[in-house]
């Protein structure tokens, strides 16, 4: 996986995932408590790292050691992301770290679904994400003057041009928007038990699209659970 994304793409992927993670953490602290990360997310994150990076995890015999490492990763990573933003380069960030970031996101998703129900994600996280992503997405995706259709089509092109996915499209129905992404760079994790068991419900690309819709319309959106295929996903978004 390493090296398949360009350096700028890695940086952009990290920024987008940080936006999602920040939204989850902000809402998690509000709704569950200040220890949500330590008590709930980290144990699940360990599980997802084991699922997503089995070849790396096998080198670490001690699960507790991995938990400690992931705790340190989350603490230090935010500072590294800010540093990368200032310098405009991904620096020493590796694909393993991006996977760990995804594991953190799915750790939060699992916590929210199990403790609060997935409506908490739809009703709180996506709204917060819309605000937070304004710091990470290109301005053209957040400009209120630009039509929503144009923004979402630009977003589809953005994730394609950055080679996060091989193909992306947005379709507009009467009362719903469909966002499809195929040949995703991260789709190999769809082989994991977490996906087969539907422990993971929302594709990050669909979540970001939903946040763009929410930011544009200034109202809550309803993101149905993403339909995952072997190489991609289809997410349906409805404005409430």
């Amino acid at each position: 996986m390493q090296g398949q994304l360009g350096e700028e793409s890695e940086l952009n992927a990290v920024f987008l995932y940080m936006g999602i993670l920040d939204a989850y953490e902000a809402v998690g602290v509000e709704l569950i408590g200040p220890d949500v990360l330590e008590e709930h997310v980290l144990p699940r994150m360990t599980y997802y790292v084991r699922e997503f990076l089995p070849e790396i995890f096998s080198e670490r015999a001690d699960s507790e050691e991995l938990t400690t490492e992931l705790r340190r990763f989350l603490t230090e990573f935010r500072a590294r992301v800010e540093d990368a933003r200032e310098k405009g380069v991904a620096g020493a960030m590796t694909m393993e770290e991006i996977w760990e970031l995804r594991a953190a996101i799915f750790g939060f998703e699992s916590v929210f679904i199990n403790i609060l129900g997935d409506s908490a994600i739809k009703n709180y996280v996506l709204i917060r994400m819309a605000d937070i992503l304004s710091a990470y997405l290109p301005e053209s995706l957040l400009d209120p003057q630009i039509p929503l259709k144009t923004k979402l089509e630009s977003y589809a092109k953005y994730i394609q041009d950055n080679k996060f996915v091989g193909f992306a499209r947005v379709s507009f129905g009467d009362d719903e928007i469909s966002v499809a992404a195929n040949r995703c760079e991260f789709s190999r994790i769809h082989d994991s038990e977490a996906y087969r068991n539907l422990d993971v419900r929302f594709c990050p690309w669909g979540m970001i699209a939903s946040a763009i819709v929410a930011a544009h319309e200034g109202k809550e959106t309803n993101l149905e659970s993403s339909l995952f295929t072997t190489k991609g996903s289809v997410s349906k978004i409805k404005a409430k």
Binding site: F167, R169, R196, T229, G232
Partner: protein, 136 residues
């Protein structure tokens, strides 16, 4: 003979629609198109198979199997086509009952879909070759 060319035209249209459905439906993750194309194509092809191919095969089967090596292209066309038909019907029935398309089933079904499409195109190609060699 006229029937043969007519059904070749129909099967060519079916294969073209199938490939378009694969590209615009499967690769672009537009499942409405994919399902519409697949079910239409399977139904149309089933009608051709039942009302023309099977009766034709029954007529010529003695002749074909009297020299299976010499008529290998025909034997392969029948055999590969039959496998493709069975697989396609099995997939269609599966996803009628599992419209939710869970990933656990999709993962196992996808290689079968690709195999079915490949066999279908091969059987079609053998059919074209057989017809051209027979009448030209």
């Amino acid at each position: 003979m006229q029937n043969s060319w007519m059904f070749l035209g129909i099967e060519s249209l079916i294969v073209a629609v199938l490939l378009l459905g694969w590209y615009f439906g499967a690769r672009r993750l537009n499942f409405n198109i994919h399902h519409l194309v697949v079910y239409t194509v399977i139904l149309a092809h089933a009608l051709v198979v039942f009302f023309w191919m099977i009766p034709t095969a029954q007529e010529i089967s003695n002749w074909v199997f009297s020299n299976p090596i010499g008529n290998l292209r025909l034997v392969l066309h029948f055999g590969i086509g039959m496998v493709a038909d069975i697989l396609s019907i099995a997939l269609a029935v599966l996803f009628i009952f599992r419209r939710d398309m869970p990933l656990s089933i999709l993962r196992r079904a996808r290689p079968v879909m690709i195999t079915t499409l490949t066999l279908w195109v091969i059987a079609y190609g053998l059919g074209v070759v057989n017809l051209l060699l027979r009448y030209l």
